[in-house]
């Protein structure tokens, strides 16, 4: 298991290759990359606040749960905090498994839990000012799938 909470940028391709390197034991690798999205064309940047200590703990708990539920050879979570420009990767999840169904389900599960159960808060700065991103009911509802 790899869990990284960092302010530094990361290269999604390098992370994927490092995660997959030398894995003749697994057939399926799924990755998810979350990118700062400028939905309305007015976003200047995003800032992510987190709760040091609890963040790592919460993510490790979520990954442990995924590993107990699906047959995974490995799992990785990287999540950035601090100021992020539009188009920058915010976070990444990767799962490796013998079978694709496990790799897909575990990555999907990790994303749902990271959205609503890891202590991160997004704040957007647009041309009109700053505002905290509100949690979506659909994200909370997504947890009931598991």
């Amino acid at each position: 298991m790899t869990v990284l909470v960092q302010s530094a940028p990361f290269d999604a391709g390098e992370v994927l290759n490092g995660f997959a390197h030398g894995r003749g034991d697994v057939g399926a690798i799924v990755s998810f990359t979350g990118v700062v999205r400028d939905t309305k064309g007015d976003l200047r940047h995003m800032e992510i606040e987190h709760y040091p200590g609890m963040t790592e703990r919460a993510i490790e708990g979520i990954v442990t749960r995924a590993k107990s539920r699906w047959s995974l050879a490995d799992a990785l979570v990287i999540h950035r905090f601090g100021v992020l420009p539009v188009g920058a990767p915010i976070m990444m999840v990767a799962t490796a498994a013998s079978h694709r169904a496990d790799a897909f389900a575990a990555a999907d599960f990790l994303m749902d839990y990271l959205k609503s159960r890891a202590p991160f808060w997004k704040k957007e700065t647009t041309i009109d000012g700053t505002s905290w991103v509100a949690a979506k009911d659909e994200d909370e509802a997504a947890l009931t799938r598991w």
Partner: protein, 81 residues
């Protein structure tokens, strides 16, 4: 007890954390105590249904007892991912 605030809770209260001397039995009691202090606390805690609480870095709820807890954190629903 170390009390921490994140995101707009931190902004409303105006500080990221503070040491609080309290005999509050539950999280709800602590919230009532803090809200009685100053308007900025009352404003931040006006609607606790819009807030989450963690005790010693584990998600908990407002009815939870504070006995033995060293760190309480208040924040809005999380928006990771």
């Amino acid at each position: 007890m170390n009390v921490m605030y994140f995101a707009w809770v931190r902004e409303r209260i105006g500080l990221p954390q503070e040491e609080v001397e309290t005999r509050a039995a539950t999280v709800a009691d602590l919230v009532a105590e803090l809200s009685a202090r100053e308007d900025r606390y009352a404003a931040a805690f006006a609607d606790t249904s819009a807030l989450r609480v963690a005790l010693d870095q584990e998600l908990s709820d407002f009815s939870a007892p504070l006995a033995g807890v060293r760190e309480v954190a208040f924040f809005p629903p999380m928006t990771g991912g």
